[in-house]
Symmetry: C2
Subunit: 193 residues, 2 copies
DNA sequence: AATGCATATGAATATAAATTCATTTAAAGT
DNA sequence: ACTTTAAATGAATTTATATTCATATGCATT
């Protein structure tokens, strides 16, 4: 069972397609096998069981997602620009991999087997946001009286909401175009001044 | 099969408890029956099948939720106060019925069988927000240059994010206390001025 | 108390799909 | 060409649980 064989990846991507189309529970091993172009039994040479396929899928996708987010943020100076890049990168990656977007938005929260994995992902993201917000406060560009625990959920919740709508709309419009207007809302709010 | 018998309600609430604890797919009819204090077969006198239990659960809960939201908003004048009441009411109702909160946040988006039902719920909520935002613009208290399609998702996404955190934290703190700080973020944003 | 009707029971059935494994195919080494 | 090892197959097995249904219980009417 070598980790990075062609078949390993084919099964992962095949599973991604089937999970996105039918949801984890309605997806069958046979369908995944067919999508990946292998026999049912072959899957068990590479994965412990059905749950493990999803686990590895998430693991694989998040690792690469986090790396990209980190470099997008590090590529620039100042909290506001870092925040913009974070959101731009987030939306771009989800737009580029719609199966992943569907699985993360619709399946992941739901499945208890992977609850811990999800907690880690959220935590990573929220800690990242904290870092940026605190930087902005040090720079003097963000309010000092922010309840950071609330702000970071506010930020992540809103991006996810935007992505959910895009997914529900079958990806018919450009998701990345939402990034800057969204950040403007975070920063300035909706009240007239 | 009379609709509002004791057993009908007992099964619905029992199902709510089991769905919240184990998730829809891992929940078995036997467990729901036990929780409701009836025999397995009895459930089929009141519901077509397992999916129908969830469908009716959601229908029942949203109807009552929407009524409460509507009167909370109608009870006051001015967009800002209406928005505050909307969010307060939303958080209060979810805090008061944690099973419902779990099912709505974790299960509902996921289940394809009820996708239409969910679209209706979202639409109802988003239209409601549009109404309030447009009122605020007419009053001159909200910015004129808002992209409403984005703003309403921004608002709903953030509330849902707050609720998700609360659910994940096993409801250990007071959710309703988040309402006003959250609305302040919507209105004023995080940028220092 | 006997009859009929509605409601409830839970063991038996049916079904679907995850997982296994005996067999086949391909590849590598000598 | 022959042997050994590894990888792949897919039909057969196992398991789990949603759903059915023959039977029972309770309740009202006469």
């Amino acid at each position: 069972m070598k980790e990075k064989s062609e078949k390993y990846s084919a099964i992962l991507e095949g599973a991604g397609a089937v999970f996105a189309r039918l949801g984890f529970h309605k997806a069958t091993i046979s369908q995944i096998a067919q999508e990946a172009g292998v026999a049912d039994g072959t899957i068990y040479l590479y994965f412990k069981n059905k749950d493990d396929i999803l686990y590895q899928y998430i693991q694989f996708k998040t690792t690469s997602f986090f790396e990209k987010m980190r470099s997008a943020v590090d590529a620039t100076e100042g909290a506001e620009e870092k925040l913009r890049n974070l959101i731009r990168c987030h939306l771009k990656e989800f737009q580029n991999d719609r199966n992943m977007a569907i699985i993360f938005q619709s399946e992941v929260r739901y499945l208890r087997n992977i609850a811990l994995q999800v907690k880690d992902i959220s935590k990573w993201y929220l800690d990242f946001l904290t870092e940026i917000i605190e930087l902005g406060q040090m720079e003097g560009h963000l309010r000092q009286d922010l309840f950071i625990g609330l702000v970071k959920r506010f930020v992540l919740g809103a991006v996810e909401g935007i992505i959910n709508t895009w997914v529900a709309a079958e990806g018919k419009y450009d998701l990345t175009a939402m990034a800057d207007p969204l950040v403007d809302l975070y920063l300035g709010g909706i009240r007239k001044r």
